[in-house]
Amino acid sequence: MSEDIRLTKLQLDALVEVGNIGMGHAATALSRMINKKVEMTVPYINLLPVERLPEIFGNVESLVAGVYMEIEGDANGKVLLLFPRESALHLADLLMGREIGATKVLSEIDQEALKEVGNILLGNHLTALHQFTGLNMRQSIPKLAFDMIGALMDFLIIELSKVSAEALVIETQLLEPTNKIKGYFIFLLDPDSPAKILAALGVGGDP
């Protein structure tokens, strides 16, 4: 039942490029939503042991707002959009038109606004992916939780550990420089999905 993920350099580059295009669209959409400049890093693709997943963010007890969404269709996966505590509060302020720093605790409406950010980021990402690859993917409704990062991520590790010892993680950082709002967009592809995306890109096949 184990499915090892083996990819060539070319294939990894292709996935990064797809992530780059998807995130570019997503960042533009976020920029329009908050009417601020949004920068992004080049997606960082990492094939790492499933159990080390939370460590990519350092301290497992760091407080974050996490928006979780599932992707289904021609390729499957899960997305976790993480905002460190301060960033989540500041982003809520921006979205709700309040002074930065006004929010100390996320209200129901703030939470809905952050979920909407998740919706729009992933929606734009998937639309770009579709234009680029022809693959059709649907996104679930977003779910939000605010807690320790380790606690938010352990079910993902559990789920992944059932099918693969390694996780293919595509991580992109978003940054709104004026207020130093940071977000981490984490794309976890199901083990059989990289092959489907690569085939659609014309770089499929075993290494």
Binding site: E61, L144, D154, S161
Partner: protein
Amino acid sequence: MTTETALLVARGLGSCVAIGLWDPLSHAGGLSHVLLPSIEMSVFRDSPHKFADRSVPLMVRELRRKGAPVERLVAKIVGGAQMFNPKGLSHGGVLRIGERNVTAVREQLAAVGVPIVGEDVGGTVGRTVAFSTSDGSMTITTIESPPRIL
């Protein structure tokens, strides 16, 4: 697993369950951090303490070797939360793993006859646990309430 006075810690538990076993007489104790009910459910099997069905018997055996027979052991269990609401998700079942972990841990402890003398399980909040082998106490920290001692 230790007979020395120690503070054993499991940080950032969501759906995972921490099992603390302790012998009040010798003060030998152990804490494991369980991910899944059974090792059969996982593809990586090199860490038996990540699975309820392996971790409980293994801890019992190791504590017996350290002079703490199973008859004297007591257990405290913490964790098994559901961090995101699964409603409306087609794969929402993956979010309910916490509940299944708690059930599996209870079954495993019952099978070896170790009573659960304290628990803080379920809910929707993450937990950090510090287990003291000097007095068998568990201190539970969450973002929502002040530390709680079990």
